[in-house]
Each structure stands twice: as C-alpha cells, then as structure tokens.
Symmetry: C2
Subunit: 230 residues, 2 copies
DNA sequence: TAATCTTAGTGTACTATATACACTAAGTAA
DNA sequence: TTACTTAGTGTATATAGTACACTAAGATTA
C-alpha cells in the first residue's frame, strides 16, 4: 500500500509564486490594484494582479508583502493579508509548472499615501467589474478574493480592515453596503453593530465636514473575530 | 519600483508537498487518520498525517487524493476534500525547503470499507486529543483542520460530509454535538434543521434497531452550502 | 442673525426566530 | 402483556430582526 518515496527529487519540484488581490474602498466603491503583465507570446501587454516568484529564503506571506512593495508600489508595512487559496492547475502558467499561493489584502484608502493612491503605469486601481481579462488565472483569483471577502463580511469583523483608525458609523455602513451590495437601514445597522460590542466610541468627532459632525468610533480589537454581523 | 524578474530560475524553487487531515465520526467521536513517519534524524519512529510530495503532473488536490490512497489506505474514490492552508515556513521540514498544501478530508464512517476502518501499522484512527507530538508541523495542520471544521459547521452544511447517504435526525444531532462539543436540544435541533430545507425525508426507516425505527433523511444537495445552522 | 442646507442621531410597534421544557408513540424483547 | 428504549412532537416566553420618520446639530449664506 505504501509507495516508495525515494523517486528522483529532480522530478518533484515546482516554481512557487504568490499573487495578491489588494482591495480597498474609496468613496463607497471597492477597488482592486492591477499591474502590467507583458509576457509574450501568451500574455503580451496584459494586466494582472501584483505577483511573482517566491524566493527560497522567504515564506509565501513574506513574498506577498514584498510583491506588494515591488509590483503594487505599496510601501505601507502593515497591510492586512489573508491567505486565500493555492492554485496548482498544471497549465495555469503556459511557460511551465508554477503553483501560486494567492492572498487577499485589505487596506483603508485613507491610510494610503498619495503615491499609493495614485494610478501610474506601474500599478493602478480599478473596480472589480473592470478587472476582467487578466493574465494567467488572475480572473479566477480575483473572483475568489471577492467571494471570500463578501462571505467573511457576513460573519466576521473583516471589514474593519478596510476602515481607517477612526470612522463614523455612516462611513462603516457605506463600506458594508458596498461590499454586500445592498442597502442597510441606518437605525438597524447602528443598533446591531453597537450591540456587538466591537466598537469603541472616541471622544473626537469628525471635523471638517460642512454639516453636523459625527461621532468617531474605532474597532476595539485589531483582530478579525467571528461575530455574526449581517 | 519594478524588479527584474529574470533572476536565475534555479534559485527559485521549492519542493511541494500535500498533507491531508482525514476526519470521520465513529459513534459520536471525531477521529483523525495517522500514518507512521520515520525520517531520522529529525523524525525517527514518529507519527504524522498522510502526506507526501506532489508530482509534476498532478494538481495539489490530485496529490492529496493519491496520498490518501497510498498513505492512508483509503481506496474510496469520492472523499470530500477541502483545501485548508498552505504552510510555507522555511524550516517546517528540517531537510530542506518543503512547502505543503494542506487539505482536510471528511468521510462518513459507514461508507468506509472494513479495511479503511481498520487500524494497521500503515495507518490508523485516533481521537484529536491523541494526535499530538506529530512529525513536521502536523500538530499545527491538525489544529487548523479542527478549527476550520468547527467554524464551518456553524454556518455551512459541511457536516453532511460526515454523514452516510441516509441517516436519522438523532444521528445527525450526535455529529453536530460531537463537533461543536455541546449538547443540543432534540426538539429545537429538529425544528431548525428541517426548516433549513436542506434535508429530504426518505420513505425508509432505520432497520435493525432494537426499538422504535427512526425516519431516514438525506441531504438534498451534495454541495456544501452557506446556511447558518448553529 | 435668521433661514436653509445637509448629515447625524434616535424609538417603537410588529414580526420572526430562539429557547426552555416533558410527555406520548412505536417498535423489540422477554 | 409488560417492560424497555429510542422516536417524535408543541407551546409559552424571551430575544432578535425588521420596517419605518422625525428631530438635532452644526455650517453656510442671504
């Protein structure tokens, strides 16, 4: 029943890659970061997720963080990363056997520098509906990341990772509405989210608005917890 | 900002492995399948999850299925597999860089052959509390698989994958109770699970019992769906 | 400074779901 | 036929979800 494991090792290796679906929300709109992919003959002048090969001396997550820096021009060090899925289809890269460990990454728009917010030739933000026709299997990775985000939004506090340190309840509600693609009742949303006990009210109020200032809140814990939200 | 990708490919590879946490429930007790690991000097005469290297011509999932056959003596072809996590710690295998794609696998005890149910020197069943001190990072993989199973039991129909084709409501309740480690109210459990509409009553009843026969049910769909259960 | 503009913030009545709880029904075995 | 064991059911109460509309607060401008 047991098979001899001492087959030639050179037959048993793979090139390992990491790909990252970096997402943020700007003005209630979900955005994904894309970069150019130019790999003729299969992927000439195309777009894709920031990704690349994993180095022998780094973990997959370390590679994902490095690739966010190198490919997505994201220099902020504390991006929230979650391992998504490992894609190992034999032909997913036509140039050879490349297995990709995919990550989703979430960052509050407001905590990005102006360089990180900017669209350049090296990387830019698009809405998910514009993120089709990507190189490799990046359409699939994108769809997986979106589905996972929407699923986890229902029973975890993951959307806190899309919020700045301090935010108003209306801002939080807008993010939930944009991810879940639904309209929420303002009063019921507030009752529910406050009853969960995951938010702490701040002393300060949102300044600079043209109208009545709103109370500011923050997530009490930086951990994503499994409380049912919606 | 972009880095040259044309670094020597020979610097960028890893050996890819797959490991499987195969779980079942026998008499209301969760069991995990272990196999011997004998890899001196680091892992002499130890135990571990069924696992091994991925071949160049197979996906990670195909490797997981093959390894269930070769290492865990599981010949049933339709074992439910779910990709769990990819472990890429640099030193997780002291012999070299081995990245492991871990899977959890669920199988109903009753659908196993007597050979698959049996404990042999090649593979055997243990309770999770006995599955400590495993080789490599298999303690971590085991803990991850258990946590994921318990989490998913709360908001999906995944425990259907631990049930035989036909089962009684009491049998289903026992499985929920053993996974969630809690006592459930018989009437409330029945109301809830029946209202979900995921079960279909069968004409037949459980035969051979010494007492009143129970109605048999089956899961209407073979898909694991995201309905909140408990 | 009063009027206007815009977003912030709140409560209640109703419906649906969750929970706690105990007896009768059906078959087997002696 | 009696005893045994598991199957199967209902109701009252508490909790949570839902639908819905007005007042409050500050900034702007006429």
């Amino acid at each position: 029943m047991k098979k001899n494991l001492e087959e030639p090792k050179h037959l048993r290796f793979a090139v390992l890659a990491a790909d990252v679906a970096l997402m943020t929300v700007r003005d209630g709109t979900l955005l994904i970061r894309l970069t150019p992919v130019n790999r003729p003959p299969h992927f000439p002048n195309m777009k894709g997720l920031p990704g690349g090969l994993i180095d022998p001396k780094e973990t997959a997550e370390e590679a994902a963080r490095r690739l966010l820096r190198e490919k997505a021009c994201i220099t902020s060090p504390d991006i929230y990363l979650e391992q998504l899925f490992t894609f190992s289809e034999i032909d997913r890269d036509p140039r050879g056997r490349v297995v990709s460990v995919a990550y989703s990454a979430l960052v509050p728009w407001g905590s990005l520098s102006s360089e990180e917010q900017a669209d350049t030739n090296d990387s830019w933000w698009v809405t998910p509906s514009s993120a089709h026709g990507l190189a490799y299997d990046h359409d699939l990775i994108t769809a997986t990341a979106l589905a996972r985000l929407r699923s986890r939004a229902r029973y975890t506090t993951i959307l806190g990772k899309l919020m700045p340190n301090e935010f108003t309840l209306t801002e939080l509600e807008r993010v939930y509405e944009s991810i879940l693609r639904t309209d929420l009742d303002k009063r019921n949303f507030r009752k529910k989210i406050l009853k969960l006990g995951v938010l702490t009210a701040q002393k300060r109020k949102r300044e600079g608005g043209a109208f009545r200032p709103a109370e500011l809140y923050r997530f009490t814990s930086s951990k994503v917890t499994e409380i049912e939200i919606l």
